[in-house]
């Protein structure tokens, strides 16, 4: 069932050979095909623009009021590319190697190598579009370093790289909209996938202004709909980020891979109370100069929390710089998963700080003494300002309080080397798919993957599929469109009929607590088993006791939320199933039963060197696991150590 379609031959030649072997669609025939693109972040905008340039008809959809608002816009740090402009030993192979290792050897070699290959083209493309990357005084592009690499290969535009890259892709998209080759649908949400004879042939959408439930037909459907981090309620994702499009496709036959792989980012501003709606990231770069610590003893931490002691009262010898103590060679710059787990550990011991006790300090006192406040301001000023604005605490005068938060999901829709899912004609690009980051994503690699898929992979691979279809337009009168549309309408009506006592947010917050507690930074058999039951119970509570207001034929944010949470309630259980199945620790997935004597994550390559792809079998039926074996021919598997 799972044919990854990875071409034969040496790693470095796979993509070039494959491109030559892919079938082409004659330029005059491209206009006979329509491609549907769902989502307009980096992957979606770049795909829609590039495919339209080639001559295809494209219909693009986004739930926001403009394609420019997709959450790619919030990425701060940068984008990796193997340009080796710094002459510091970078190469395509090194970027490939770092990414496979960073992913804790749970990604597909051939996909990652292709990603590294096309990374150089992405930077060229963005510069040609007028993206204002940071530059040196000589006028050439500047780079910085990021976690998990020993070279400087990260291109950036201040702390707003995602914004500038997305606006570049948005400009390319706008150019095609102006030419009439892309028809753009803003404020439209995909609610189902239409298949005919097992092939993806269209989608059902809801117009979020008028409520109209519409069918759209196409020869291929591209899901570019991002990750599912909002299953945790609190995350660094945008409020609207959701799994609905991917989940609906899953229920129509697309396998869902490695759902338990979630990235918990160590440096976020902690939760202040139940009112909290989302969490804000503080860039990883802060760990270059900030020192992480908590009080050495629980008693001191308690006094601090109660206000009986001030931070300054805690003497140097009473502070535990636990990352520096445990990992002397990497110190505060250990990878994200390690930093996050250690923060949880000290908080669980009762040594956390802040009023809630669920935070650790990130202290810049030494950096300010060493470099001076002005230098620190020049490096991190905008982040310090953002922190000050949100917490009302001045990080120049007292340490930041930080705590890990859900940030990115490595799992996603299973795709082959062509980015096609197990439903022919249905593709998944960007964070929405599972393919390139294994069990842990390195910083500055998400932007790279989104644009690689959209600009440089899908324009080649989609043609291979379309060329085999013939030129007939999709039959929009096929009964499956009406059948699927009716099902969507029925579901909307069912949601609107719910008039219980709980709000959708009540249920979503409960789900978030369950996921965070049992399927978050550390997981174990008993906790996961308990979580499975709790989620099933919560799903029943949702369908019996939630309230959804208003009607369909209007802007209805109550209804929008309810539909998304209903899907999260199903996905959450699959994440737990996947985490239960994977009795090893790898990357962001830490099973307490599988750790080294020092408490570090321990992989089990013999039994778990595979992609876990889950097949939907019907309402309340257990999903069926399919395994794609991961074969490593070019890297040697080792246990990561940061001591």
């Amino acid at each position: 069932m799972l044919d990854s379609k990875v071409p034969a031959g040496p790693l470095a030649e796979k993509w070039s050979k494959h491109k030559f072997n892919l079938k082409l669609v004659n330029p005059a025939n491209k206009r006979k095909y329509t491609i549907i693109v769902v989502g307009t972040g980096l992957a979606g905008s770049s795909a829609a623009a590039s495919l339209a340039e080639l001559g295809y008809n494209v219909k693009a959809f986004c739930y926001q009021d403009s394609p420019r608002r997709a959450h790619s816009i919030a990425a701060q740090g940068g984008i990796n590319a193997a340009k080796n402009y710094q002459n510091d030993g970078d190469s395509v192979f090194r970027l490939f190697y770092d990414t496979v290792k960073g992913g804790d050897y749970r990604s597909r070699e051939a996909n990652v190598h292709r990603l590294a290959e096309v990374s150089v083209n992405i930077i060229d493309q963005c510069v040609a579009q007028g993206v204002p990357f940071a530059r040196e005084y000589g006028g050439l592009l500047d780079n910085r370093s990021f976690g998990g690499a020993q070279v400087s290969r990260t291109f950036y535009a201040r702390g707003q790289t995602g914004q500038q890259l997305l606006l570049g892709a948005y400009s390319a998209l706008n150019r095609q909209i102006n030419k009439g080759t892309v028809k753009m649908y803003n404020r439209h949400e995909m609610l189902d996938l239409v298949t005919i004879d097992g092939h993806a042939r269209g989608i059902i959408t809801r117009d979020m202004v008028t409520g109209a439930i519409e069918s759209h037909e196409g020869h291929a459907v591209l899901l570019c709909t991002g990750g599912y981090g909002n299953v945790f309620f609190l995350s660094t994702n945008a409020m609207g980020c959701n799994v609905t499009a991917a989940w609906r496709a899953h229920k129509r036959g697309a396998l869902f891979a490695n759902p338990c792989y979630t990235q918990i980012h160590p440096t976020c501003i902690p939760v202040t109370g139940d009112h909290q709606s989302k969490l804000t990231l503080m860039s990883e770069s802060l760990r270059n100069d900030g020192r992480v610590w908590v009080p050495k003893t629980v008693e001191l931490a308690q006094k601090l929390r109660k206000g009986e002691l001030k931070i300054a009262d805690i003497k140097e010898q009473d502070r535990d710089y636990y990352l520096e103590r445990k990992y002397p060679s990497f110190g505060n710059l250990v990878p994200r998963d390690v930093a996050s787990r250690n923060a949880k550990e000290v908080v669980d011991e009762g040594r956390g700080v802040g009023a809630s006790g669920i935070a650790v300090f990130l202290d810049f006192e030494d950096a300010i003494k060493r470099l001076g406040e002005d230098t620190v301001r020049a490096k991190y000023g905008n982040l310090f300002d953002m922190y000050y604005q949100i917490t009302d605490e001045n990080p120049y005068k007292q340490p930041m309080r930080i705590y890990p938060a859900v940030h990115y999901t490595m799992g996603g829709v299973w795709v082959d080397y062509n980015l096609m899912t197990t439903v022919p004609g249905l593709y998944a690009l960007g964070e929405c798919n599972f393919s390139d980051h294994g069990a842990n994503r390195l910083g500055a690699s998400a932007l790279m993957q989104g644009l690689a898929d959209g600009y440089f992979v899908i324009p080649y691979t989609v043609g291979d599929y379309l060329a085999g279809l013939g030129f007939a337009p999709v039959d929009k009168n096929h009964p499956n469109f009406e059948i699927t549309r009716t099902e969507v309408e029925k579901r909307v009506r069912k949601l609107l009929s719910l008039k219980g006592s709980k709000t959708v947010d009540d249920i979503h917050k409960k789900l978030g607590h369950i996921m965070w507690e049992y399927c978050g930074m550390a997981r174990n058999e008993a906790g996961l088993t308990k979580a499975k039951g709790l989620i099933q119970e919560l799903r029943r509570e949702f369908w019996n006791d939630v309230t959804v207001l208003g009607e369909n034929e209007e802007m209805n944010q109550s209804l929008e939320k309810a539909g998304r949470v209903a899907d999260f309630l199903e996905l959450g259980e699959l994440m737990v199933d996947d985490a239960l199945n994977r009795r090893e620790s790898c990357g962001g997935h830490f099973r307490e039963e599988s750790q080294t004597e020092e408490g570090e994550a321990k992989r089990n390559d013999e039994d778990f060197s595979y992609v876990a792809a889950w097949e939907y079998k019907g309402e309340d039926q257990p999903e069926v696991l399919h395994k794609e074996a991961l074969v490593f021919e070019n890297v040697k598997l080792t246990q990561r150590s940061y001591k």
């Binding site: 623009a49 493309q125 040609a128 007028g130 940071a134 040196e136 102006n178 202004v209 709606s277 947010d505």
Partner: protein, 256 residues
């Protein structure tokens, strides 16, 4: 953790663009000063839902101040009383216990109300579609370092490119002019070497679309600059006027 601020909200409620809207008064009690303004509205909305009343609709997404989706005219000012922030980054400590807060949508003919506080800003998209890009296809472009750009120029272009497209400039302007928004994009490309080939046709196409959308003219009062959450400068408008004038003088009227 709830807080101890009690507030009176006067919120604009409007079913859709075909019905008349009105102010409705709500009490927001137990508000914490740590909440963001939108989290305060979340609390009010949760109460409304529990009472079976339609929640207040407003646009928002990233809640990090970068996507540009949130709006809101708060006590007469776009994005509220604090300078240099979006509504989502505005916190309740900028208000005091007992205060009355008036919340309205962006008011501009070119931004019709969709529902309550949510407006239709697709006019901004259409202006960008008219010419806010460089005509390059994917692939076949020069090496990124083949186009050296002085740092000072790249930095200035970045300052213009940082516009989040929220529409506060239009909402702040007594003429509902969109010139700050349009000029930011025109400036970004006019400054960069990649944008030179089409600089005049771009200025003409974008200005023509801006006029067609019904935005007002600029009378240099500078309210847009004062209210812009990301600090887009008025000098962009001066540059746009130069670009537009240049296009007229050079009579470059080729389609963009």
């Amino acid at each position: 953790m709830s807080g101890n601020m009690n507030l009176t909200l006067k919120v604009w409620r409007q079913k859709n663009d075909k019905t008349r809207g009105k102010f409705v008064t709500y009490q927001a009690n137990g508000i914490s000063s740590d909440m963001s303004f939108l989290e305060m509205l979340d609390v009010v909305n949760e109460d409304l839902v529990r009472k079976g009343e339609d929640p207040i609709h407003f646009d928002h997404d990233c809640r990090e101040g970068i996507c540009g989706m949130c709006s809101l005219h708060i006590n007469g000012r776009p994005h509220g009383p604090k300078q240099g922030t979006t509504t989502c980054q505005l916190h309740m400590r900028s208000f005091h216990d007992g205060q009355t807060i008036v919340i309205e949508p962006w008011r501009a003919a070119a931004f019709p109300v969709i529902k309550d506080l949510a407006v239709d800003r697709s006019a901004f998209d259409r202006i960008q579609q008219a010419g806010g890009y460089i005509n390059v296809n994917t692939g076949g472009v020069p090496d990124a370092n083949g186009i050296p750009i002085p740092k000072i120029v790249a930095d200035e272009a970045f300052e213009s490119a940082t516009c989040i497209g929220c529409g506060a400039c239009v909402a702040a302007c007594k003429n509902a002019s969109a010139m700050l928004f349009v000029s930011a994009k025109i400036s970004q490309y006019a400054l960069l070497p990649q944008g030179q080939t089409e600089r005049y046709s771009r200025a003409q196409a974008m200005v023509a679309q801006m006029d067609a959308e019904g935005f007002g003219s600029c009378t240099n009062t500078g309210a847009c600059e004062a209210e812009c959450p990301v600090g887009i400068k008025l000098t962009n408008i001066a540059r746009m006027n130069r670009e537009y004038l240049g296009a007229k003088i050079l009579k470059q009227v080729e389609p963009h």
